[in-house]
Amino acid sequence: MMRWEGIQSPWAHSLIACIAGLVLLGCSLQFAGTRDAVNTVTVVLAVPEYPAKALREGAVAIYRWNAERTDYMRHIEKLEQENLALRRALTEQRPNVEPLARPHLVTAMVDLRYPHQWWQRLRVDAGTRQGVGIGDPVLNKGKLVGRVVDVGRSFAWVELLTSSGLSIPVVVEETRDLGVVQGDNRGGVVLRFIPPDRELEEGMHLSTALVGEVFPPGIPVGAVREPGVETAGLRPYGVAAESTFSRLYAVQVLVKRGDRP
C-alpha cells in the first residue's frame, strides 16, 4: 500500500508517478548504466521466459523443417543422378581426410534496438550458450547485416553494416576488386578504397573477401550503386544493401561448430 500522509487522491499519485517516469526517462537517456540494467533484467528473466522461447524455437524449427523438406524432395532425384555419375567417375580410393569444421547458423530474434542507435547496433536473444562469440558474422536471409561485438550468456550485441564503426573487406565479384564497406550511421552503406581507374558498374555484386580472420569469404553483402566524389585518389561508391535494415526481426549468427562451448 503506497498511500502517503497527506496525499490521498489517486489523481495526485498519478501526477507524481508521471513526473517520476518522465524524470527517469530523461535520466536514463544520459546515464551509461542503463544498458547494464537492461542487460541484467534480460539475464534474470531468461530463466522464467525459457518455456516461451523454447516453444517459439520449436515452432520455427518445425516450419523451417517443412519448408526445407519440400525443397530437398525436389532436388533429390537430380542429386541421385549426379551422385551416380560421380561414383562411376571415381576409380581410385580417396585418402581419408578429416572434414573441415563447418560453420552453422544460430537463429536469433532481435529483442532490443535503441531508437537513437537505430542504424548502429541491436541486441539479439542468443549468446554464448548457443555458441555465439565476438566477431561472428550476422546474416539475414543469407545476406550479411552485421557482426557480433559484445556477447553475454543469453544475448549478443550486433554492430550493423549501416554503422560507421564497422568496416568489412569485400570483393566485387565481377571484377575481383577489393574494397571496404562502411556504414554512414543513417541507414546507408558506402564502398571505399576503390581506385578511380577502376570503373565499377551499378548492380555489380559485393561479397565478403578472404581478408582478415573473422569473416568467411563469399557472404553476399550488397550491390554497387552510383559512384561518389573522388577524394584523396580514391572513389567511393554507394552500396545497395541486400537486407532491409529497418525491419530486422530475426537474424542468423554464423558460428563455428565445435570451437566454442
Binding site: M1, Q8, R35, A37, V38, T42, E49, M109, D111
Partner: protein, 153 residues
C-alpha cells in the same frame, strides 16, 4: 499477485511472438479491470502500473520510464472517464469499451513514439487490438460475475 501473473503472461507472449509484434497489453488491462471494482486502492494500482511499466522498459524498450508514464497516464484518463459516468450507467460493457479504447491508445502511442511507422505497422497494430479482444471479453465476463457495485472514484 494477479498483476504479476498478467505481466508475466504478457512477457511470455512477447518472447513467443518476438520483438516485431505488438502483444496485447494484458498487464494494463488487468490493472484497469481491477481498478473499476471496489476491491483495490487506486493509488496502489497506479504505482503498480508504474513499476510494471518500468520492468517492461528494462526488458523490452530499453527506455526506463517510457511505459511507466504511458501506463499511468492512460490509466488515469481511463479512470477519469469511468468516474465521469453516472453510477446507474456503469455496466460491464462500458468498462470493456473504455478498456478497449485505452488499450488502443496505449498501443498507438507506443508505435508512434518508439517504432518506425511503416506499411506493416498498422496491420500489426490492428492485430494487437484483435488479440486483446478475448481478454477484454473475459474481463467483462469477470466483472459481470462479480457482486456489488463498481467503483466511483
Amino acid at each position: 499477485m494477479w498483476l504479476a501473473f498478467f505481466w508475466y503472461a504478457q512477457d511470455l507472449l512477447q518472447v513467443l511472438l518476438a520483438r516485431g509484434f505488438f502483444v496485447p497489453e494484458l498487464f494494463f488491462l488487468a490493472l484497469f479491470f481491477q481498478g473499476v471494482t471496489e476491491e483495490y486502492d487506486l493509488s496502489t494500482l497506479i504505482w503498480s502500473a508504474f513499476l510494471g511499466g518500468l520492468l517492461w522498459d528494462l526488458r523490452w524498450s530499453g527506455l526506463p520510464g517510457f511505459t511507466s508514464v504511458l501506463y499511468v497516464a492512460i490509466l488515469t484518463v481511463g479512470f477519469g472517464i469511468w468516474s465521469a459516468i453516472p453510477r446507474q450507467a456503469r455496466t460491464a460493457m462500458i468498462v470493456v469499451l473504455i478498456a478497449g479504447g485505452c488499450h488502443c491508445a496505449a498501443g498507438t502511442t507506443r508505435v508512434l513514439l518508439l517504432d518506425f511507422p511503416e506499411r506493416d505497422t498498422l496491420l500489426l497494430l490492428i492485430l494487437q487490438q484483435l488479440m486483446a479482444l478475448p481478454f477484454l471479453v473475459q474481463g467483462g465476463m469477470w466483472l459481470m460475475r462479480k457482486e456489488g457495485p463498481f467503483r466511483a472514484p
